[in-house]
């Protein structure tokens, strides 16, 4: 089961349809069970039974998740793969000790892969849909995998299958979510060093 986490300003918000439902749809279309939860309503059972977690993005003007980082204190000890998308990437970076700063990217932009990784295998440059007004300065425990003119776009923890993606892979780059899911299946080799 993949836990798909809604980071928007309140449970059941208009952003749920826009940022969470499309990710959940990709998960289900891969034949994987998805459980959608708002970050304020996560139970220990939700977390303990997940084979992977996807932290979804939210609206450009929504920053409430950054004021509730204690809600994500469980992330560093979560034993399975994690993918943070946009807001989710910002949460990962803050929880692991990095920082966020202003940097806006809205629209399709070229992504340049700068370090090899199974998640981006075979990709050198590609276009992706960005929708952010914050960027990240990842902590030393993360490596930068890809970037664009608006800043760091893909990161991975150096020892754990924990990824952050600033662009929205659910828009025209669903392959990235599918590759992440392949890391989550129980007993699956993660490809980590």
């Amino acid at each position: 089961m993949i836990l798909v986490v809604d980071l928007s300003y309140r449970p059941g918000s208009l952003s749920l349809d826009e940022f969470v439902a499309p990710v959940e749809c990709i998960v289900r279309n891969e034949g994987v069970t998805a459980r959608m939860r708002h970050y304020t309503g996560l139970s220990r059972q939700d977390i303990a039974s997940a084979d992977g977690v996807i932290l979804c993005g939210t609206a450009l003007k929504d920053f409430g998740y950054l004021e509730a980082l204690d809600r994500f204190a469980w992330l560093p000890s979560f034993p399975c793969p994690v993918l943070g998308i946009c807001a989710g990437m910002q949460v990962l970076v803050r929880v692991y000790g990095g920082d966020v700063h202003s940097a806006t990217g809205i629209g399709m932009a070229e992504q340049r892969v700068v370090a090899p990784d199974p998640l981006l295998a075979g990709k050198d440059r590609f276009l992706a849909f960005e929708l952010h007004c914050l960027s990240v300065a990842p902590p030393p425990s993360f490596t930068i995998l890809a970037g664009s003119p608006s800043g760091v776009q893909v990161i991975r923890h150096r020892e754990l299958p924990v990824y952050g993606v600033m662009f929205h892979p659910e828009v025209r780059n669903e392959w990235l979510v599918r590759r992440f899911l392949s890391l989550c299946r129980p007993g699956k080799e993660t490809g980590m060093p």
């Binding site: 208009l14 952003s15 349809d17 826009e18 609206a59 003007k61 809205i106 629209g107 007004c133 828009v171």
Partner: protein
């Protein structure tokens, strides 16, 4: 949160409006009236009738005319949204974008520059399921323009019911078109919606069709009891 809905009069903006009403407070509709029928950003047929639709919904309408020139349209959109902020105190905007990154990017940029929320509740929806959902939710709408080869003159003015949905789905599979018309294959005009207090009756209309492109122009319409 007070929201304004970018409203073209077609099914997508009307359905987005319904979704927004279920979760926030919709305080006005916003229509950009493009003079150019080839507008890049805005829906064009019958947009002059959004005033009648707004009256049917009991919502105020904010309108701005646009020359329909590619990037200048963004400035016109910004002007329309700014006017809605001044008149109705909106804090955000709702659009009916489904897959158009072109449209979504421009509206997001305008909202960001005006420090407003932007919501796209139909974003990335499965188009077949979505089309069925619109019809099943009680919307009544007709085809107001066509611009894809399998959609011939016979579709102009046709009301989209469950039979028409099946026909559109079949054509979409054969001809690689978007069943919900998101690629501009067709445009629609909403006659009735769950949030309308009255429905629209078309009294007089004309059809123009040439070389795969056609418009169903509503020349006279009125509100009647639902």
């Amino acid at each position: 949160m007070k929201l304004g809905v970018l409203f073209s009069g077609g099914k997508d903006s009307a359905f987005a409006c319904l979704r927004a009403m279920g979760k926030e407070e919709v305080t006005c509709l916003i229509t950009v009236l493009p003079k150019n029928p080839e507008s890049y950003l805005f829906h064009t047929p019958n947009t002059g009738l959004t005033a009648l639709q707004a009256e049917a919904a009991g919502l105020p309408l904010v309108t701005v005319e646009s020359e329909g020139v590619e990037e200048a349209e963004v400035a016109d959109l910004s002007r329309a949204i700014s006017r809605a902020v001044e008149r109705h105190g909106i804090e955000g905007v709702v659009t009916g974008a489904i897959h158009s990154v072109y449209q979504a990017t421009r509206v997001q940029r305008v909202c960001h520059s005006l420090d407003l929320w932007c919501f796209n509740p139909l974003w990335l929806k499965d188009q077949e399921e979505y089309l069925e959902e619109v019809v099943s939710s009680g919307f009544r709408f007709l085809i107001s323009a066509v611009s894809a080869v399998p959609l011939d003159e016979g579709w102009l003015g046709r009301e989209v019911d469950h039979h028409a949905v099946e026909d559109l789905k079949a054509m979409a599979r054969w001809h690689r078109m978007n069943p919900a018309g998101e690629g501009g294959e067709y445009e629609t005009f909403v006659l009735d919606a769950p949030f309308f207090r009255k429905r629209i009756e078309v009294l007089r209309a004309s059809r123009e069709y040439h070389a795969g492109h056609g418009v169903f122009r509503i020349e006279e319409a009125r509100l009647v009891a639902r």
